[in-house]
């Protein structure tokens, strides 16, 4: 296959029906189909509107604080003794994670569509905080659905959302985590579809969400590509990002997909290990199915029921994954691997102590894999890791695991 043909493969998805090969699509109740069509039409128009792009770029520069640095973790790299590791510092964004790149974009869409109310689901609370933040700035009413279990583990983010004026609704159905929050947000959207914009936090859900969230997150990879060329004089040899729904990973990977020499690693939550069945790694250990509006890899049982997941990080604790990742897996373009809870926690401590950067537990999964990878590489090689968020929100979780009470 020539390079041109390969390039076409990546440009051709999603197709007009929102499909990435057999994945993606629009698997929702009829009540939402008109709203999705409207969103698709608005987005198609605004995504090529220079005025909208100018507005978005200004928000990303002035409000989010972009571009985020590409930082060379020299001490950490030296201690591993392999490749040079660079961290894409999404943790330095306003609100402390990559999530805000997307909420700024979707909130602008909501504003253009004249919707006075936004609703969102959240796992770790980073997307909820990013949504509540932009809602406060634009004067939009905001409701965030969060699993009761996550409300408990992410109390700090719950309070942040409340300070920002959002209503946080604990979800008590099912496993009381991100997937159930997403069910409830979709129920809310069905009920209030006339006045509500649903800000999905990841590259999943019905078309056009996987497309537009990808587009808004691609700023990560575009910057990283430029910065890597400036700072190292070449493209990176490998990219590493954690994958829950997969938005920070797609954001980093997508602008490099056509660069054949760039290897990519998406790191899923291995929980207590794949063999334990207590993990959140649908690409590694799941099978294709339909959930939350799209066909993708899922963790499911013999009856097609969605299984409970486990991860130490709330943001990765999800039984599905964005459809483009499912497609990239089958295509073989991205390698999907796992890091366990323990490996992620070790990476959390290492980076904090060696570089003075406290990573989110989600991002710590990517760091854990990068460490393994770097050790097998040489000092002339470069790895870019997406440091998708900062770890302040996880201090309680880490302290509890270390047996410390405040």
């Amino acid at each position: 296959m020539t390079s041109d043909l390969k390039a076409d493969v990546f440009a051709a998805v999603p197709d007009a029906d929102g499909r990435f090969g057999i994945y993606g699509g629009k698997f929702v109740a009829e009540t939402l189909m008109a709203a999705l069509s409207e969103l698709e039409a608005v987005y198609r128009k605004l995504s090529v509107d220079p005025e909208f792009q100018r507005e978005l770029d200004e928000d990303l520069a002035q409000y989010v604080g972009r571009p985020s640095p590409l930082y060379e973790a020299k001490r950490w790299s030296r201690s591993i003794g392999g490749a040079r590791i660079f961290l894409k510092r999404e943790d330095l964004n306003h609100t402390g994670a990559h999530k805000v790149n997307n909420t700024v974009g979707q909130a602008l869409l909501a504003k253009h569509m004249g919707k006075p109310r936004v609703t969102a689901e959240t796992g770790a609370g980073q997307h909820g905080v990013a949504t509540a933040t932009i809602a406060a700035r634009l004067g939009l009413q905001c409701q965030v659905f969060m699993g009761e279990e996550d409300v408990r583990r992410q109390a700090l983010n719950v309070y942040r959302m409340k300070l920002l004026g959002a209503e946080v609704v604990p979800v008590t159905s099912g496993s009381r985590t991100l997937k159930d929050a997403m069910n409830e947000a979709m129920r809310d959207w069905v009920t209030n579809v006339d006045n509500t914009f649903y800000i999905i936090g990841t590259v999943a859900g019905p078309h056009p969400y996987p497309l537009l969230v990808r587009d808004f997150q691609c700023v990560i990879g575009r910057e990283a590509r430029r910065q890597a060329l400036e700072q190292t004089g070449k493209l990176p040899d490998a990219l590493v990002a954690c994958v829950g729904g997969g938005s920070n990973a797609i954001g980093l990977f997508h602008p490099f997909l056509r660069d054949e020499g760039v290897a990519m690693y998406g790191v899923e939550a291995g929980g207590h290990g794949i063999a334990s069945n207590q993990h959140a790694a649908p690409l590694t250990a799941g099978s294709p199915g339909v959930l939350h509006g799209n066909r993708t890899y899922l963790m499911q049982d013999a009856d097609g029921q969605i299984m409970h997941t486990h991860s130490v990080s709330a943001g990765l604790d999800y039984p599905g994954v964005g459809p483009e990742h499912a497609w990239l897996k089958d295509l073989g373009r991205v390698n999907y691997v796992v890091a366990t809870d323990d490996e992620a926690l070790r990476a959390f401590h290492t980076l904090t102590r060696v570089e003075g950067i406290m990573p989110a537990l989600e991002s710590s999964h990517a760091l854990a894999h990068a460490e393994k990878l770097a050790a097998q590489m040489t000092p002339d090689q470069v790895i870019v890791v997406n440091l998708s968020g900062r770890g302040d929100k996880d201090i309680h979780t880490v302290a509890q695991i270390d047996g410390i009470e405040f």
Binding site: G25, E30, S173, V290, A302, D303
Partner: protein
């Protein structure tokens, strides 16, 4: 002619409207679903709609979510639901049975395997909430191969031009969702329902049944004046849950469901000439 189409035709000749009770298969207990189906038929049900339990019932309100959770706690999956229909068919070859659920259990079984197993069990139709016409081609090929009806939802938000796209894929009847929201919510606006049914009738000859928000004899009667059929789900599931909650056990749950269906049947029939 399918059992569903035949039943609507027969009712139309009698000047009557269809009553379609919905229960979640295996709620509140595995062993009562089949006896309950027979008793609902005796109480005046024309078509039985069985909910296929799913872990993530995104279109259901709180009442039916709990119904799904109870059934799942009883270990009920799609294969058990097909067993129930097979057992029901041993004594009732006439009453149409429709499965309502979500895409994934059917996807996981495989469309062809599902179609074969379901038709063999005696299932007449399938309604998958989250498979709109855009995504239905492969499933419909299999359902049509075995002669099973595919029931589609039309919503208050469905534009007129889209209704034709839906009715072109549909058979059996059209299920009009009477409100924007989840099952069991809100209040009915009968004039609004009538307007949308008129739009649907502009696109097809299929009967139109209405569901989401019908709670009692009065609301059923109001809807029956403008529709060909009435679906009652949340109210029925809630009545059974309340009976169990009150300590009455499964017998009391069945009695409560039968009482409500009897009352609703009388309400609907009070408009017949």
């Amino acid at each position: 002619m399918s059992r569903i189409a035949g039943r609507f035709q027969q009712l139309a000749q009698q000047g009557r409207k269809a009553l379609v009770p919905y229960v979640v298969a295996g709620d509140p207990a595995l062993e009562i679903t089949v006896p309950l189906m027979h008793r609902l038929v005796q109480a005046g049900a024309d078509i039985i709609e069985l909910g296929v339990p799913f872990s993530d019932p995104m279109s259901e309100g709180p009442v039916l979510q709990l119904g799904h959770e109870r059934a799942l706690a009883n270990g009920i999956g799609l294969r058990h639901v097909l067993d129930m229909v097979r057992e029901f068919r041993q004594q009732d070859a006439r009453t149409p049975v429709l499965l309502m659920g979500y895409a994934n259990p059917v996807e996981h079984m495989g469309y062809a395997a599902f179609a074969d197993a379901a038709i063999a069990a005696g299932v007449d139709g399938l309604l998958t909430v989250d498979i709109p016409p855009e995504e239905v081609a492969n499933l419909n090929d299999q359902l049509q191969r075995v002669g099973m009806d595919n029931i589609f939802l039309v919503a208050p938000t469905t534009p007129d031009e889209r209704i034709g796209r839906i009715t072109a894929q549909a058979s059996g009847f059209i299920y009009y969702v009477s409100l924007k929201g989840v099952t069991g919510a809100g209040h009915l606006d009968v004039a609004d329902v009538a307007e949308h049914i008129a739009l649907i009738r502009g696109h097809c000859q299929l009967p139109v049944a209405v569901g989401f928000g019908i709670k009692d004899a009065a609301s059923a009667k109001a809807v029956a004046t403008v529709a060909d059929g009435v679906v009652v789900g949340s109210a029925l599931v809630a009545s059974m849950a309340a009976a169990v909650e009150a300590g009455g056990g499964h017998a009391a749950a069945m009695d409560a469901a039968v009482a409500l269906v009897t009352e609703i049947r009388a309400g609907i029939d009070s408009i017949a000439s």
